[in-house]
Structures are given as structure tokens and as C-alpha cells.
């Protein structure tokens, strides 16, 4: 197994008298993209603030590369690069001057390293302009440059896709995968969007109301919670339809809900193929309804608040 870069055990935090974080425990390994998934207000930002030393934990242990953050702050934090919420930079300085500020704080960073990172985030042309002239995307890239400047072992990003357009999100996604796969970096990403975590991450911790309620591989999670399709089929054909659907690869689960209704868990993009298969098999399909599993459904299921097959939402998903 790869090296454990970030290890969090029993993290706790109260703001004022109100406990916000109850018991957060997880490990992040080198070379993986780790998702931190939870709805707004779950405590993601609060947790990340503690991970990067902006806030002090009331209890629990944070280790980065085996070094305790609480006890040896400089040594531990030297291995972390982060953007908490928005990339905040000195707007009255140029991009290069910003990087030089961070270089002086991190130590051991050569001018060549600055050139290298500027090329890496593709900011060569704008690097000597003041940051206040930058677009959001450019600021984001400069933010990533400052986070990676000192060659950290782990990159921590808090909702990095907030405010980005779809092209920007796609670019960021590729960039993050590249960092993890080619540079062997551990990347820790928080998000409140299930789809985002699904596309970017290898493993995920799901957090709700300050507690981790599940940690595991994203792939397994998605299989368990794939989208659902309701088929309305005459009761005379329902058994046959179930058999046909079962043979399809895109379908992970099929069960009969009522006399005329069949439910399948499957990739929604493959609905027309499944329909084709049913029609070819002589099944008169009377209706199709697709349901997207939302984060809320997932939470209801994981916290035991909902039925075992998730809450229902009608309507086709636009992807």
C-alpha cells in the first residue's frame, strides 16, 4: 500500500459552545485523489482549516507524512499545499512577486523552481502583471502554483470548482488527475457535489453534520448508488422484462416494485440501449422514468433515514 500522507484521527472542534466537528477519522495515501463529500454546512471547511493550521483542533490527532501538525507545525505544514475556499493573493503585487513572497516563507526555493511552476500552470505571459488584472481562472492557476511551489506531498483544495465554468472544471479535473497519477501527489478535495467527486476521486469520505459516515472507494459507492430507472410494463410481461434487464451490462440491479413497475439501477446514459433490448425481446414498454440519486438520497440511505433503495426523484438527469 502507498505511503500514508495524511492521517486524521478523532478530530473534534467546537465553535463557541457549539460542537461543529464530532469525530473525523480518515487516511489519505500518496498518489490518490481523496474526496471529502458533504452537503453545505457539514463541516468540510472547518475540518480543512484544522488540517492546514488555520484553526486549532479541540481534540484528535493530525499527522502529515507521519509528523504531528499540532506538535511540529513548521515541519508538518511544509509538506502541505493548500487553497482554502478562494485563492487569496496579494492583488497589488504581480504574480511573480506573489510567488516570491511564498518562496521566502517556504525556504529553499530557487528562481528556476518559480519559472518551472509558472510554466506548469501556464501563466508565463501574465506572470509579471498585477494580480488584480487576472481573471478568476488565472487566479485559480496562480493559487495552485503557490500551493505547489514548495513541492508538497499533499495538495488540499476546498471546493476548488466553485465559480469555475464547465471548461474550467474540466481543465481542473484533468490537472488534478495528472498531479496524482504522474507526480504521485496526494490530493484532498472537498465538494458538496456527488458528480464532481465521482469524476475526480479514487476514494471518498462522506461527512454529514461533523461526522464521517462512510469511507471507501468511489467506484464501489457509485455501484451501490447508481441511478435508477422505473419501467412501466404490463404485468404479463414483467418477469420476462426482468430477465432481459438482468443480462445487460449497464444494469447493476433489477427488482419488481409493483404489478406493473420494474426498477433497475443502471447508468442513465444506457437507457435507450436497455429499452431497445426490451423491445427486441417483445416487451411492450409503456413508460420510462429516470431518477438520479442525489447526495441527499445517499445521506438518507447511509444514515438510515430513508428506504434501502434511496428516495425518489423523477425526471431525467441532464449531464
Amino acid at each position: 500500500m502507498a505511503e500514508t500522507v495524511l492521517s486524521v484521527k478523532g478530530l473534534q472542534k467546537a465553535i463557541g459552545k457549539k460542537p461543529i466537528i464530532h469525530d473525523i477519522t480518515f487516511d489519505v495515501f500518496a498518489g490518490e485523489v481523496f474526496g471529502f463529500l458533504g452537503p453545505n454546512g457539514a463541516g468540510k471547511t472547518t475540518t480543512i482549516r484544522m488540517l492546514v493550521g488555520l484553526a486549532k483542533a479541540d481534540g484528535g490527532d493530525i499527522r502529515i507524512g507521519g509528523i504531528s501538525l499540532q506538535e511540529q507545525f513548521p515541519q508538518a505544514i511544509a509538506q502541505v499545499g493548500c487553497i482554502v475556499e478562494n485563492p487569496e493573493l496579494y492583488k497589488f503585487l504581480t504574480g511573480r512577486e506573489n510567488l516570491e513572497q511564498f518562496a521566502r516563507m517556504s525556504g529553499g526555493i530557487t528562481p528556476e523552481r518559480i519559472e518551472e511552476i509558472v510554466r506548469f500552470v501556464d501563466l508565463e505571459r501574465a506572470i509579471d502583471d498585477k494580480v488584480k488584472t487576472y481573471s478568476l481562472g488565472m487566479r485559480q492557476r496562480l493559487g495552485i502554483a503557490q500551493a505547489l511551489l514548495h513541492r508538497p506531498k499533499i495538495l488540499i483544495l476546498d471546493e476548488p470548482t466553485n465559480g469555475l465554468d464547465p471548461a474550467g472544471i474540466r481543465e481542473l479535473r484533468q490537472f488534478i488527475r495528472k498531479l496524482a497519477e504522474e507526480e504521485g501527489l496526494a490530493v484532498f478535495i472537498s465538494s458538496h457535489l456527488l458528480s464532481e467527486i465521482e469524476m475526480m476521486c479514487d476514494r471518498v469520505a462522506i461527512i454529514s453534520q461533523g461526522k464521517v459516515i462512510s469511507v471507501g472507494l468511489v467506484k464501489e459507492l457509485m455501484e451501490q448508488f447508481a441511478d435508477q430507472v422505473d419501467w412501466t410494463i404490463p404485468s404479463s410481461h414483467i418477469q420476462k422484462a426482468e430477465e432481459i434487464l438482468r443480462t445487460l451490462q449497464a444494469v447493476t440491479d433489477v427488482w419488481v416494485v409493483s404489478e406493473e413497475c420494474l426498477k433497475s439501477r443502471m447508468d442513465i446514459e444506457k437507457v435507450s440501449e436497455a429499452n431497445q433490448a426490451l423491445v427486441n425481446g417483445g416487451i411492450p414498454v409503456m413508460g420510462i422514468a429516470t431518477k438520479t440519486v442525489t447526495l441527499e438520497d445517499l445521506f438518507l440511505t447511509l444514515t438510515g433515514g430513508g428506504g434501502s433503495h434511496g428516495a425518489e426523484h423523477s425526471g431525467a438527469r441532464t449531464k
Partner: protein, 331 residues
């Protein structure tokens, strides 16, 4: 692993310069000093016209007579009476020893300028320099970058404090240089060796001239600007604390202005409220101890004021560090 403080101070210096804080300070000085120079010039000219002579002796004699006349008025409050007696004794000394206390010249202007500026104008300028040193990092969110580097928090604040002390010192030095150079255009550049009378002791409202002695003006200026420098360092330290405690620059500015202005008001009317002498804003007029002016409150002496200011500065530092090191960063 441990980063040198020099690099951090360099960072802070770059930020302070690029925020144009020091430029603003120099501009304020460069605009106001010529205005004060002109005002001084007008008052000299007016006085000479009134006297119908450019000889300063009749002028000084007239001032003494004026003050004696005021003393004769029975409605004068007791405190004022003491003060005027002290002034008369002082002016008489200048007259007897043939010293022109108003002899114009760059150095004399610089001396008068510090007398006027030490309790209000210079502290205000230092506030401009210091008020958002820490709070701007919080309000702009850049504190997140500052505190997620391998540098301990006390070191981050220390680098800011060192930078502030450097620029405060530079401001006092710039004040001296600009006051001398700009006023010299009108008054000339001589007068460094002019003898200045100092060493007065005030005891029970009486001016003790027994300890008084002459100093060449340049030495007097050195002492005076030294005291001004000390006052500025204390104001800078207190402002740093405000900058740590208050998020917005406007609020910090308001707090410091209110403090400084109420200090000025209190020195003028607090002689009956004795414990106000423990407020730092009442103790800023240090140059008065050199000039032999009566202190605003009985019992105030130069060592007393220096002690009060030092205690305030140390307390402000402790609060600033404790808060900055312990505080969680939430946006």
C-alpha cells in the same frame, strides 16, 4: 526548516511599500510642512509689522509685558496663573542672556514643528502606516497564505512588527529632514549652534531655573526627535494591537483617532482628574519637559511619562501576540 526573519521582513517591506503606505506618509509631510512654514513666516512678519521693527528684543519685552498684564487680571484661574509665571521667568531668561528664542532658520522650524506634531500629527501619520498592517491580511483573506507556511505565528507577527518599527523610525527621520530642508527655503539653513535653554524643573508649579543650562540647538533637536521617535514607537505598537484586534481598517482608524483626539482634549482640561495621567494619550507631549512647560497634570514628569508609555506598549504587545497566536482564522 526555520526561515530567517530577514526574508519575512523583506516580504513585509515589499507589501508595505507596494500598498503605498509610506508614500502617503511622505506626501502628507511634503504638503503640510510648506503650509506650516508659510504660516510661521506670516506670524513672524505680522509680529514685526505690529512692532514696527525686526528687532526681536522689543518683541520679547512686549510679550513679557502682555503676560504680566494677564497675571494682573484677577479672574485668571489658578492653573493658568502658574503657567504664565513659568513662561515669564523663561522669556526673562532669554532676554537677560541675549538669546533670540524665535530666531528663524531651518533647525528652529524643525524644533517648533516637533513641539507641535509630537502629540497629534506624527501619531496620526504612524496610525496611517500601521492601522491595516495585520487587519488587511484578514480582510483580504491573505492571512490564509501567511499562516499555512512553515513559519510559526509569533514569527509572522514579529516580522510585521520589525517592519513597522523600521518605517516608524524612517518616518521620524523623514520629518526632521523635510522640516529642515523645506522650511530652510524661507528661513535659511543656519541655526544648528543656536543655544537653547533646557533643564527646567517644575516643582509645585514653580519653574526651577537652577538646573537650567544651554544646549546647542542640534543637541536639543537630537533629544527632541529622540523623544518624538519614542512616542511614535509606542503609538505604532498600540496601533499594531488594534490592527490585530479589529478586522476593518476603518474601525481601527476610528479607534486610534478617537484615542488621540481625546488625549489632546484631556491634556487641556484634565488637571482636576488626576488619574487620567495613566492614559498613554495624555503622555505624548514629551517635548514639553524639555521646554519647561508645565505638565497638564501635577505629578507628571519625563520619567513618569516614559514609564507610562512603556507599560502601555508592553501590554499592547502582549495582547497582540496572545491574540494573533491563538486566534482561529475563520472568514
Amino acid at each position: 526548516m526555520e526561515q530567517s526573519i530577514v526574508g519575512l521582513v523583506q516580504n513585509e517591506t515589499i507589501k508595505l511599500l507596494r500598498r503605498r503606505r509610506f508614500l502617503v506618509v511622505v506626501l502628507i509631510l511634503a504638503i503640510l510642512i510648506p503650509i506650516f512654514t508659510y504660516a510661521q513666516y506670516r506670524s513672524v512678519v505680522t509680529a514685526q509689522e505690529r512692532m514696527g521693527t525686526t528687532d526681536w528684543r522689543p518683541l520679547l519685552t512686549q510679550q513679557i509685558v502682555d503676560m504680566q498684564n494677564r497675571l494682573a487680571s484677577s479672574r485668571l484661574p489658578e492653573e493658568w496663573r502658574d503657567l504664565i509665571k513659568v513662561r515669564i521667568a523663561q522669556q526673562q531668561y532669554y532676554l537677560d542672556h541675549d538669546i533670540n528664542p524665535m530666531a528663524p532658520g531651518g533647525p528652529t522650524f524643525a524644533r517648533g514643528f516637533m513641539d507641535q506634531a509630537i502629540s497629534m500629527f506624527l501619531p496620526m501619520i504612524i496610525v496611517v502606516l500601521a492601522v491595516d498592517l495585520v487587519s488587511s491580511e484578514f480582510s483580504e483573506g491573505t492571512v490564509k497564505l501567511l499562516l499555512t507556511r512553515p513559519v510559526r505565528r509569533w514569527k509572522v507577527l514579529t516580522s510585521k512588527y520589525i517592519t513597522l518599527l523600521l518605517f516608524t523610525s524612517l518616518t521620524v527621520l523623514t520629518t526632521l529632514i523635510l522640516a529642515y530642508l523645506l522650511s530652510g527655503v524661507v528661513f535659511g539653513y543656519s541655526g544648528w549652534d543656536l543655544p537653547i535653554l533646557t533643564g527646567f524643573e517644575v516643582s509645585g508649579g514653580e519653574l526651577e531655573t537652577s538646573g537650567a543650562f544651554m544646549l546647542p540647538q542640534w543637541q536639543f533637536l537630537l533629544m527632541q526627535y529622540g523623544l518624538g521617535w519614542f512616542v511614535c514607537l509606542v503609538v505604532a505598537t498600540v496601533t499594531l494591537m488594534v490592527s490585530v484586534l479589529v478586522r476593518s481598517a476603518a474601525a481601527g482608524m476610528g479607534i486610534m483617532m478617537a484615542a488621540l483626539i481625546s488625549g489632546t482634549i484631556l491634556t487641556q482640561m484634565a488637571s482636576s482628574w488626576e488619574s487620567s495621567k495613566y492614559l498613554f494619550v495624555v503622555n505624548l507631549q514629551l517635548t514639553d519637559y524639555l521646554n519647561g512647560t508645565l505638565p497638564p497634570i501635577k505629578g507628571m514628569t519625563l520619567p513618569f511619562s516614559l514609564t507610562v508609555l512603556s507599560v502601555w506598549a508592553i501590554a499592547a504587545l502582549i495582547i497582540a501576540y496572545a491574540t494573533f497566536i491563538r486566534r482561529d482564522v475563520t472568514s
